[in-house]
Amino acid sequence: MLKVSGLACSRGERRLFADVGFTLGTGEWLHVQGANGAGKTSLMRLLVGLSPADAGDIRWRGEPTPSVEFRRDLIYLGHHAAVKEDLTPLENLRLSAALDGIGLDERAALAALIRLGLRGREDLPVRVLSAGQKRRVLLARLLTRPAALWVLDEAFNALDVGAVKLLGELIAEHLAAGGMAVLTSHQPLPVPGGKALVL
């Protein structure tokens, strides 16, 4: 369970948000909404522990974050491509798994890439793929890395209609399996239910 209370963040002199709080239980997801510059990405970065909060408390399964247990349960996909352009999608997936200390055999990695519609692209350098395909390589991590909490910042950007639907299905499967998700997006998301948080 993720419990956030009294979270505040400022950039320079400007207060972005204050007293943000929510609770996510198993199978629940949160849609963070807000205008450009409202602090959605800042909230996501505070949440995962990349930057410190001015005030507030974030607890994962009752323990304060960031902790190793929290990082083991977390996948964060931000605005960055977070894939190496010189490596192939297959190498990218397997090396990022190895960095996380998880063994990932070639078959499982390949299956994840095929599910994301990258069949036949697994041995090309990521450099030659389109923006949407790069995004799909990154999203394949959702399948290869077991994690209870998905924090996806604008994950639906650059994806075509088919990929948006697929990501919606992946999130729905993840929630049905008892996972949790925090998403930001300007579009209505193809995932049923969910709490909303407007910044």
Binding site: V48, G49, L50, H80, A82, L99, G101, P125
Partner: protein, 221 residues
């Protein structure tokens, strides 16, 4: 430990896909050290005297050449962010990156030094001491350099700042590294010099990954 080896493997694989970046530093070392004998002319005594200093200064500068890229690419494409959020300790991944930097940049310098030393009329035993001193000294350069690279990450014009920050910290390695070869040529015992280099290396191996990690976390905020 597996995460450390995975980082080393990843960085070496990336370097092999983009060989020019690794070769730049090595060619720089070869060319700079070859320019001195060509410029000074055939004066064996003078060349022998300046050899340790020149080889060491060239090694410092060659190391410095690749340092701004140590974390920059990972920072720009967001993989550094993913490393910071990985369940593996960031310190371990950073140590892996530093080790890979040494294997790609420091080790070739160590292996080339005896060949380049021949141009300065150094005899076999002096070349041996030079190689040994560089073997102890170049990892130290990578370790100290990594702290500077992390501190200047994302700073505009960071390359120059990095040189100003790191070169003064390289002075002890330079003094004892070049000093060992000079002492040997003068017929003195080199144990003290090499022991001090080794001691600095142990100290840096312990503290540098930790300091680099702290600086990277600040850069990521």
């Amino acid at each position: 430990m597996n995460a450390l080896l995975a980082t080393v493997r990843r960085d070496i694989l990336l370097a092999l896909r983009r060989k020019s970046e690794v070769l730049t530093a090595v060619f720089f070392f070869v060319i700079v050290t070859s320019l001195f004998p060509l410029g000074i002319g055939p004066e064996p005594l003078l060349l022998k005297k300046i050899a340790p200093g020149i080889l060491w200064v060239a090694a410092l500068l060659a190391t410095l050449l690749g340092l701004p890229r140590l974390f920059a690419a990972d920072h720009v494409d967001g993989t550094l962010e993913q490393m910071a959020l990985s369940p593996s300790p960031l310190g371990l991944l950073v140590a892996g990156k530093i080790l890979a930097h040494w294997l790609l940049c420091g080790l070739p310098l160590v292996l080339l030094a005896p060949v380049l030393g021949l141009q300065f009329d150094l005899d076999a035993s002096a070349l041996g001491i030079l190689t040994l001193a560089l073997l102890l000294g170049t990892p130290l350069l990578s370790l100290i350099g990594a702290i500077g690279a992390a501190l200047t990450l994302g700073v505009r014009g960071g390359g120059v700042l990095l040189a100003l920050l790191v070169l003064p910290l390289y002075i002890p390695a330079l003094i004892f590294g070049a000093g060992a070869v000079e002492a040997h040529i003068a017929g003195l015992d080199v144990g003290g010099h090499l022991s001090l280099l080794a001691a600095m290396l142990v100290l840096a191996a312990f503290f540098a990954p930790w300091a680099t990690t702290a600086a990277l976390r600040v850069a990521l905020e």
